[in-house]
Symmetry: C2
């Protein structure tokens, strides 16, 4: 009777802390814990690591998916049959799947198919996404660290621009991940708590109006000489079309987006004739473990532990969630939600978390506890002492 | 009899530490120290801050130019005459100018013009550039911190790609600052000391051969499934033409470059049909004080102090330099070089610091001491406690 853990979807700087939580909690409870390499993609090839004796300490400070992730969806019958043959072969009875919206859909399908087949299997989802767009949870592990990274990056870039604008660059644009929701882009405004941040935040939740936007940039530049802009990659026109659509879809069927920062910069250059710099942190924002949030690292680990505890309490077919008890002092309570209620769902930034191109007090009260603390990784050779498993 | 300090050119995460060094050393030696806002641009408008009583502690941990920088060159007679009228009016007799190649040219012109005019003025240049391309100094303040940032960013992105390549993105490209020289791009290879870094580094020092490059990417991807690439913005074809030329020049007459990351990615996509992510850290790499190098912060401050000491010893018309005494234990000696020997000069990466697309042991021995130590800034609200002067 074995437990299996695997990682799925875009990684974060703290997903390995969840892996640590699952593995350590499983061991403490006497479960034989295995790990699937590259999520269901590797499991279908019987690629496993026995984690019962693995040295896992470094998982708490190493970003990205130490066991490999995947983008695969379990949509066809042949894959599902093969998965259950493999589960049966290795007597896998617990399945902890660590991912976001798409991955929770996979977890849900596997749970449903197990019941259909009369195969005893307890599936628990461990939430993970820098996008923070899973419903029924106050927030998601991975978001706090990415938000902290973005807030700091925007502060530092804004200080840079503030130095340079008098006879050089006057506009800085940072393109931020967030295909559907603006949670992460909104974090670019948090720096104002310490005096400097994004002047304009373009969110997918606010349909893009070019004329209104250009007028806003012009106003800011006229007033203070320079303007910092955060733009979510999922920015949309009122008709729902992405401002920057790359023209193709990934294997989950999501439209590939890219280059919205340059699209926006081009508009400003042609309309206002200003010199512009564009930054695209890309992977850096989601794997920037060197400046993770302590709250996030701790909660990521606890979400992993809770998944094991729920499964052992026969609370399965669920995803671990966090409920906000209070903002200050910050307090959360762990809970769970049926997987089908999160599968393929998206939680947008609430209307009262932003006002035009700015974030509100309410968003700040929400986000502030999530970026607290600096659990720096250990350093060796002047660089983080990240470690790896041999995953082929 | 006053001393004047000012900042010029693209900023760094430690230029303010040099400002701290100049101001503190000047005070200790009884000089009345003023600061020019926005370099010569502001000085020509008589924009000064009296720094004799200013609270300057935060300069040691706040990135970018706290006093504002500029891109102005002192090329015309009217500007030079006006500058000397202003120097005379305020009895400015020491001028500490903090910048890179172009700024040292300005410092040199000012020193020469002072001598021509019989105006007693002692000019000392304080080096600063993330590009690390000033000659006659072992390295430049600003480089160590930017190199540390790039090395860590590439490690984190490489771990991300390593998680994802099996059924998603297989190539990651990071576009790195460095108009003429590949010092900073080379730092993307330092992560290998801790197990993971850039597979291919494209340097301006090695003329770009598209076919050879595509074959190299193909080899790496075939061997291990994914490939990480660092590309310097100043990458050139054998005929000297930039691989990505934006089509215009800045006010220093430098060609504006941008988008080489996407140019390279486009080549790989069309030749090899692989899915690619591109990151452009832009300002983030040169103002990322949250992960500066301790060596760099200390040396930046000392370069500021040495500038004042040299001026007081009547060693002027020079720039402060650092000479490497030994790599291990790391030891440097401060010295100086006549400004005309650094003005508008560029030091390229030596031929034995790279081999094809990789860095050599020799580069590692050179760069390693420069990225040591983590002098983290203080935090407030979960964010760095950066501060600002009111510079208008």
């Amino acid at each position: 009777m074995r437990a299996l853990y695997a990682q799925s979807g875009g990684v974060t700087s703290v997903i390995n802390a969840s892996a640590y939580g699952v593995i350590d909690e499983a061991r403490k409870n006497g479960l034989e814990i295995w790990v699937g390499i590259n999520g269901v993609t590797g499991i279908l090839k019987e690629r496993f690591l026995d984690a019962t004796e693995l040295d896992i300490e470094f998982l708490k400070h190493t970003p990205a998916g130490a066991f490999g992730s995947c983008r695969k969806k379990m949509k066809n019958e042949a894959d599902i049959q093969k998965l259950f043959d493999i589960f049966q072969k290795y007597n896998i009875r617990y399945f902890f799947y660590n991912g976001g919206n798409d991955s929770m859909d996979t977890a849900w399908r596997v749970q449903v198919e197990a019941q259909k087949r009369g195969y005893e299997l307890k599936v628990v989802g461990v939430p993970k996404t820098i996008d923070n767009d899973l419903p029924h949870t106050d927030h998601c592990p991975g978001y706090g660290s990415a938000a902290k990274y973005i807030a700091i990056a925007m502060m530092e870039a804004a200080l840079d621009l503030r130095s340079m604008w008098v006879d050089s660059t006057q506009v800085f644009v940072m393109e931020i991940m967030g295909r559907h929701a603006g949670w992460l882009a909104a974090a670019a405004g948090l720096g104002w708590l310490n005096g400097i941040g994004a002047d304009i935040i373009l969110l997918p939740e606010k349909p893009f109006d070019k004329d209104e936007f250009i007028a806003a940039v012009d106003r800011v530049v006229t007033k203070k000489g320079y303007c910092t802009i955060a733009v979510a990659e999922g920015l949309k026109y009122p008709d729902g079309f992405f401002v920057s659509d790359m023209g193709y879809t990934d294997s989950f069927g999501n439209r590939q987006l890219g280059g919205v920062g340059f699209t926006i910069a081009g508009m400003i250059r042609s309309e206002l004739g200003l010199k512009i710099h564009v930054a695209i942190p890309d992977y850096l924002q989601r794997s920037g473990r060197h400046i993770a949030s302590a709250t996030d690292v701790e909660e990521a680990e606890m979400c992993g532990r809770m998944a094991v505890r729920y499964a052992l309490e026969d609370n399965y077919g669920v995803m671990v969630t966090m409920e906000r008890v209070s903002d200050s002092p910050y307090q959360i309570r762990y809970s769970s939600v049926p997987l089908n209620l999160v599968a393929d769902q998206t939680k947008m930034l609430p209307k009262d978390y932003f006002d035009g191109y700015e974030i509100t007090e309410k968003f700040i009260r929400y986000a502030l506890p999530l970026i607290q603390g600096e659990p720096y990784p250990p350093y060796r050779n002047g660089l983080p002492d990240y470690r790896m498993f041999d995953i082929g």
